[in-house]
């Protein structure tokens, strides 16, 4: 049978093509592969499900053995968030034209260039910064690259990183900044904020996040920007753009580079498959020169008034210069950039503000609701979407909640659990969590 995915597997057309080429068999084309490298047996793979229906049944059998966050009530966050994804976001990113395109020219793929230009432009408005990259892989990579940018820009090789960063991200930073960049960790203060004791001219940057890993909104951005600048260093701020309808953008208190993950802006959790990273700066040429990612810009065409698009400052990239480019560039997460653009266009300024207010209010409500039975950490700080609680045993609490159909949070350690509340959690959901926590403890 001719496989539905391989039109020219049909023997008749195969013979016709071989005849046209003048070859006797496909084997001829493999003549350069030495015999001792040839695999003499078929690959040892499972029997295939060639019939689409049989494949669907097989996959369904696997998916029947998961219980997702719509079946359970989930308060899991820590870098992957259950914000509501508008139907229009899914509609646009599932369009074949976007889903299956790749790297065409700004003519036949004008739509991709425009959609990504619009994405970076909307992010620019949200961040109040003039330069935003076509997305890199994720927020981890964005932070790593932002710090390397700062090092290249300042010609220094040491960075001060907030201790209120997730362990996984720190692991990525350690690997990615190796071997040449040293990481110093700034401790977390009593209030849950970064605390900077020592700083000097050897540092390229201060890196902090807001809201940080404990959900705490950092209050001293301006002060740290001034400190960094006084020492010729940059302030790099990791910020989830979902918060920027209500929180001040990092640029407003002097951050030189903003970065983060855009999964919140219209991407599903997808078991970690919805991530993409942004990096933003002002339009300062020496700093722009340090971006490894592609930057899309608007340009005139030969028809007056018509907009075309193209790569800004392409000769920074590894596509242009191989190892002489900045880091590397390749396929990353463009579709999520387009999707985030759709999300921001749907929300508009008003939607972003309303959303931020709802999240702030519900986070506070949840903290208050849980405070009756557990210790809520950093309770006086302003929290956005996440907060940590201290419990006798993280595992015991979470196991007990899971038995009640609740994914109660992410264990940060044996006694600390991070709880995430978004606009998708109704007051009833939160009350249910609070009641269940009380019950389990």
């Amino acid at each position: 049978m001719t496989h539905p995915y391989i039109p020219n597997a049909e023997p008749g057309v195969r013979a016709e093509m071989l005849a046209a080429i003048g070859a006797s068999s496909v084997e001829e084309f493999y003549a350069d592969i030495p015999a001792d490298l040839r695999l003499a047996r078929p690959l040892d793979l499972p029997e295939p499900f060639t019939a689409e229906h049989d494949l669907v049944r097989h996959m369904k059998g696997l998916f029947d053995r998961v219980t997702d966050t719509e079946e359970a009530l989930s308060f899991l966050g820590l870098g992957c968030y259950p914000h509501y994804v508008p139907a229009v976001c899914d509609e646009v990113n599932s369009r074949s034209e976007f889903l299956t395109a790749y790297a065409g020219e700004p003519y036949e793929d004008h739509g991709r260039f425009q959609a990504l230009f619009e994405y970076v432009s909307m992010m620019g408005e949200l961040l109040e910064m003039d330069v935003v990259n076509v997305p890199t892989y994720d927020g981890f990579q964005a932070a790593g690259t932002a710090l390397r940018m700062a090092c290249r820009y300042t010609s220094r090789s040491k960075v001060l990183v907030s201790g209120a960063v997730s362990a996984d991200k720190l692991s990525k930073l350690r690997d990615f900044l190796s071997p040449d960049v040293e990481i110093a960790l700034a401790p977390v203060g009593e209030g849950g904020e970064i605390s900077v004791a020592e700083f000097d001219d050897s540092f390229a940057a201060i890196y902090l996040e807001t809201p940080n890993v404990y959900g705490v909104v950092e209050m001293r951005g301006r002060e740290l920007a001034d400190l960094a600048h006084a020492h010729g260093a940059l302030l790099v701020v990791g910020a989830d753009p979902i918060s920027l309808g209500v929180l001040a953008p990092p640029s407003s208190y002097g951050a030189d580079i903003a970065c983060g993950d855009i999964q919140s802006l219209g991407m599903h959790q997808s078991y970690g498959g919805g991530h993409a990273g942004y990096i933003a700066t002002q339009d300062h040429e020496p700093l722009v020169a340090e971006f490894p990612s592609r930057l899309f810009g608007i340009a005139p065409t030969k028809v007056p008034g018509e907009y075309g698009f193209g790569d800004v400052f392409y000769d920074r990239t590894s596509f242009a210069l191989r190892e002489e480019g900045k880091e590397w560039v390749g396929t990353a997460a463009a579709l999520w950039g387009i999707t985030a653009g759709v999300y921001l266009a749907l929300m508009g300024p008003q939607g972003m503000r309303d959303l931020g207010e709802t999240i702030l209010a519900r986070t506070r409500y949840a903290m208050d609701a849980l405070a009756g039975s557990v210790t809520v950490l950093h309770r006086d700080a302003i929290h956005f979407r996440e907060f940590a609680i201290e419990v006798p045993s993280s595992a015991a609490l979470l196991d007990g909640l899971r038995a009640r159909g609740i994914y109660g949070g992410v264990p940060l350690d044996d006694r600390t659990v991070l709880v995430c509340v978004t606009e998708r959690h109704s007051i009833t959901d939160i009350d249910r969590l609070a009641a269940a926590v009380q019950e389990v403890l």
């Binding site: 496989h3 995915y5 391989i6 057309v13 195969r14 093509m17 496909v26 084309f29 001792d36 490298l37 793979l45 029997e47 295939p48 689409e52 998916f63 053995r65 359970a72 992957c80 508008p86 229009v88 646009v92 369009r95 976007f98 889903l99 065409g104 020219e105 003519y107 036949e108 793929d109 739509g111 230009f117 909307m122 620019g124 330069v131 935003v132 990579q141 991200k169 990525k172 040449d180 920027l244 208190y253 078991y271 498959g273 810009g297 340009a299 005139p300 065409t301 028809v303 400052f313 191989r322 396929t331 990353a332 921001l344 266009a345 749907l346 300024p349 709802t358 506070r364 979470l398 109704s426």
Partner: protein
């Protein structure tokens, strides 16, 4: 469509989505952290946002719409629609759910890993990297960690070839290595003498593609690997071009210590305008302890996760780009061993058939006149010398006929290049049509070169003046920069 920039569609007070009311007291923010001015995002009703993006989508091509053989090295193949359903099925899974609530997905990871290990001959596979380049980076990070663990941290050179993807060079550099690039010899193969000269006690690794981006398979690949091994270096195989050799030859069988696959190329996950993609790193038993963590485990009853003892750590959040892991798994399960071999053979047949047609076009050539596997880097040098029309201009003109091609990565070692990779997804009729379009444009170039240079004529926009894009005073990487520099 003559679709405006989205900001031009905004009108005060409109909105595309309402969000849930707080239902609890509002939190007052102190001024230091409160946003002062609302962001200048567009204000549009929902239909208008949708319409805008649907129109933009129609101004884009994609594998599903055109004969996408022109994106050579990228293995543009059909991404079965049914696999998108599977990807959607895990949309609401959080990556930090307890293992017992995600057994089915862990099983997919586990099984895909085993299948890729069989396909490459490697011992273990990590599915964490977010793309091919990220996998290359993870491989070089493992190489670095391996040498460091063996007290050989002084090895500071990585050798690659000019026709391997630039990310091999760029990732090695980013990881702190000096990069040595081998140029092709007179026959178009990577120069083994140059390799012999390059290897030594400073050699950390060889990072190489095979077949290279020219489509030429290096028959002495095992010698390359052995040379590097002989000086204590590791050999790392970029398998971005694996589509023509599935089930034919395997990385480990040629002696490689590490390799990577692009799941969005060989294993059919959609290219998505440039990601999300997915990469897979395969390693020999010796390198297993260095894999990024966590990896999936199976004790015969339940699936779990663990971090290898000398893991390089995270290269990406969580376990991997799961929607694409699911798609790649489903694709292999729809093919089986026989199907994969048919993929390879058909991709190679298609490529050789297309080459046969392209080389009949006066002015087109395939430098080095060697046998090709799954793609060819062609040259319009002859045509260009005769007519003054450059390869890129011919590609843009071809877009007027609903197809396009990509030239190649810089530097243009093959002069006036264009790189075609037809994969197994296209029919003979598609290849005939594609070749006919190029033949037509080539003849236009001879009869009216200025016309071809003025293309496109049949696209959403006309020829773009790109000069401003490299001028810091004029470039506009966002709308706000454009407004500031050009509209105010």
């Amino acid at each position: 469509w003559d679709e405006p920039i989205i900001f031009e569609l905004s009108a005060p007070g409109r909105r595309g989505l309402a969000v849930p009311e707080p239902g609890a007291p509002l939190v007052e923010l102190p001024e230091t952290v409160r946003r002062a001015e609302p962001p200048k995002l567009p204000e549009m009703s929902q239909l208008h946002v949708l319409r805008h993006y649907l129109r933009l989508s129609q101004e884009n091509l994609g594998v599903d719409l055109n004969i996408d053989v022109g994106q050579g090295t990228c293995t543009m193949k059909y991404s079965p629609k049914v696999n998108d359903r599977f990807a959607a099925a895990i949309a609401e899974l959080h990556p930090l759910q307890h293992e017992e609530t995600v057994q089915g997905v862990l099983e997919i990871y586990w099984r895909l890993e085993r299948m890729l290990a069989e396909i490459s001959g490697m011992s273990r596979v990590s599915l964490q990297p977010g793309s091919g380049s990220a996998a290359i980076y993870a491989n070089i990070a493992m190489i670095r960690a391996y040498h460091a663990a063996n007290g050989e941290g002084h090895r500071d050179q990585v050798i690659t070839t000019m026709f391997s993807h630039p990310s091999n060079a760029a990732c090695a550099k980013t990881a702190g290595y000096e990069v040595i690039t081998l140029m092709p010899d007179a026959d178009g193969y990577p120069d083994i003498e140059a390799l012999r000269a390059a290897v030594g006690p400073r050699t950390a690794a060889l990072m190489i593609t095979n077949p290279e981006d020219t489509g030429i398979f290096n028959p002495r690949i095992r010698e390359f690997v052995e040379l590097v091994h002989s000086v204590g270096g590791l050999a790392c195989y970029d398998q971005a071009n694996a589509n023509g050799i599935l089930g034919i030859t395997r990385a480990r069988d040629a002696g490689f210590d590490l390799c990577h696959f692009n799941l969005h190329k060989t294993f059919s996950t959609p290219h998505a305008c440039g990601g999300p993609a997915a990469g897979a790193c395969g390693v020999s038993a010796e390198l297993e302890p260095f894999l990024p963590g966590p990896v999936v485990t199976f004790d015969g009853a339940a699936y779990g996760m663990e971090t290898p003892p000398h893991s390089i750590g995270k290269v990406r959040p969580f376990l991997g780009v799961t929607p694409n892991i699911v798609r790649a798994y489903a694709w292999i399960m729809a093919m089986g061993a026989e199907g994969l071999r048919q993929v390879a053979e058909t991709a190679v047949l298609n490529n050789n058939y297309l080459m046969h047609k392209i080389l009949q076009i006066p002015g087109a050539s395939a430098p080095w006149d060697k046998r090709r596997v799954e793609q060819v880097r062609y040259s319009w040098q002859e045509l260009s010398e005769e007519t003054g029309v450059h390869s890129e201009e011919i590609g843009v003109r071809a877009a007027d006929f609903g197809v396009h091609y990509w030239t190649s990565h810089h530097p243009y070692l093959v002069p006036e290049p264009f790189t075609l990779e037809p994969t197994e997804s296209y029919s003979k009729e598609d290849l005939d049509e594609y070749a006919a379009i190029l033949a037509h444009v080539a003849s236009e170039a001879r009869t009216d070169p200025e016309f071809v240079k003025g293309a496109p004529y049949n696209q959403s926009v006309h020829k773009i003046d790109t000069t401003s894009l490299d001028d810091p005073k004029a470039w506009a990487p966002t709308w706000r920069a454009y407004v500031r520099k050009h509209l105010s």
